[in-house]
Symmetry: C2
Subunit: 372 residues, 2 copies
Amino acid sequence: MVETRRDRRWRPGGLKGSVQEDSVARITILGAGFMGSALTFPASDNGHRVTLWGTWLDDHLIEAVRRGEAHPKLRLHLSPGVRVCHHAQLAEALSGADLVVNAVTSEGTLPVLRRAFPLLAPGTPLMSVSKGLLRRQDGRVDTISAAIREGLPRSLRRGFRLVVVGGPSKAMELARRVPTAVCYASADAAPRRLARRLFQTPYYAIREMADVRGLEVCSAFKNAYAIAAGLCDGLVKAGRWEASTNTKAALFAQAIGEMEILVRSVRGKLATVTGLPGVGDLFVTGVAGRNRTFGEMRGSGMPTHQVVAELSARDELTEGYAAIRMGQTYARQRRLPDLPLLAALHRIVYRGGDAERALRRAVFGSRGRARA
Amino acid sequence: MVETRRDRRWRPGGLKGSVQEDSVARITILGAGFMGSALTFPASDNGHRVTLWGTWLDDHLIEAVRRGEAHPKLRLHLSPGVRVCHHAQLAEALSGADLVVNAVTSEGTLPVLRRAFPLLAPGTPLMSVSKGLLRRQDGRVDTISAAIREGLPRSLRRGFRLVVVGGPSKAMELARRVPTAVCYASADAAPRRLARRLFQTPYYAIREMADVRGLEVCSAFKNAYAIAAGLCDGLVKAGRWEASTNTKAALFAQAIGEMEILVRSVRGKLATVTGLPGVGDLFVTGVAGRNRTFGEMRGSGMPTHQVVAELSARDELTEGYAAIRMGQTYARQRRLPDLPLLAALHRIVYRGGDAERALRRAVFGSRGRARA
């Protein structure tokens, strides 16, 4: 089904980021967790030379793959052509890369990129699949791309080209070639087009867009809002509601409304919220995944510290937990209008608030009446 | 939890539709299926006098309730104060009604209302929870409210006040008092406000809006688009995909994009699509319910005629099946721009098209490439 370019010869030359239409490219993916490893599939299927580098937290993953085992998180064997590198081999991994992908968690992104930047040839495009908000040096909470730009050494600042990825894409499904559609966003058309050309396959559709900030805001906040769906499941589990589909749907619509306010505040486009990065990604995150699990445990009555301890022990604590607090700070720092669902999530997860009462208030308004 | 007005005396008088703030109202609900019966719960909890009238297809439901059994569809006992009427008792059911609710299926709506209209006092507000598209006398497919207005006798045309209801509301959950939020839409504020006052409870939040056409378009088309989610489940069941959350999420976003085009074409508001009637209702319909079941059966490889036969035999054939064909006609008659997902659904359900190929094309565009 997939046309590969394995048999074609690698033609060197050309400027970084201007890999020729038909040529095989060198792609280095930083971070060997779920999404970093999943992206090796479309890139390999397209016949590119893929290097997967694991951080100091990924040693066990890299070792397993080296021993010829399945990737422990994806539970799949990577394509045989994928080269895996240990965290000490960063220079080797980055050498000659036409495109570098940041697939490290949001907290890991700056520590990893600070080591990677001095090893990159100027002009190498960077693609980032990391989501979330980060605290900048001046204390302001901002999206990852802003933090990445701030962390850049002077030598790379000129002509630095970043592509950010958003949209509904569970790594487990992408790696199994389930039809998936995402958005690649960049202010520059050239790196965006390059990235799309390298990764697009018949099962991985990529739409290009310019709205970087809007996409990042959707990607970061959807993790927070997805916890609301889990809270509903927890309330049903605890016997406080008989079912919760109606409530979940109302909270879903409320979350989209709040994401619209957030995206407008960064002058992002409404189409980003109503498309794959907003509506699409919130759907996939709310229906499946670890943010939902976090919410379910908290909603069934377990206090937050215990949920955090249990999920951390299973290496399953996810970004939504931090996203609620960072998101609340982000909204306050920008003096945004009232975001009742985000505030309710903060009250439930960080202040021991009762999930049933707080969610009901978020849907019905403060006096048990619907907001107009 | 719920404050009732049962103990208060019914104060007669006042104009139709101007029932006084604190008074008990007479509400007549036409159609004793899922939603008509579910609406008796908030209305009774608010202490109003509720009459539930069953059509000639609802005899078994009305009889069961009369025998003191649970409502066979909801599997719940109605509140003891609810009066149930057999189809021959239409005049009795409508006598003195302050508000009439149409909760008949979309095909049943005109036959029932043609009998009801001559029995209504002029000025009685009508609320409609029926969804879908209907073919008008001139052959054009239109929303139910347009068809209702067209069917009105002259005597009622002047001052006729219609409220339409949309948003995520599974009847089974509303009847179990699960927190639910919906929209009541009318061009006139007075009947909208009246309807909201009569039905709003702590578990049933009602938001008022003026965008009748936008709400109706969302309500009608969401039934069609919900079938797409079911088709994905069917493809997984048939072993053609390993999973489908990513694909479902992409189709969900695609559906919202197409609903935006549809709503704009009737000069509806974008907020209707991004709020409860669009995003919220599509979520609930796609995740649960009979439209999803229809899609799952068709997606697993069963031909449409067999799906229709099996679901009809179980009295579970739902509006989405007709909505796809009517929706396609609606879009063509209005010369709307390309709606690839709607077209794919039509191909799959009405022309024996392969679900996997048609859905993939709808997400990826015609040449296996993502649409920009």
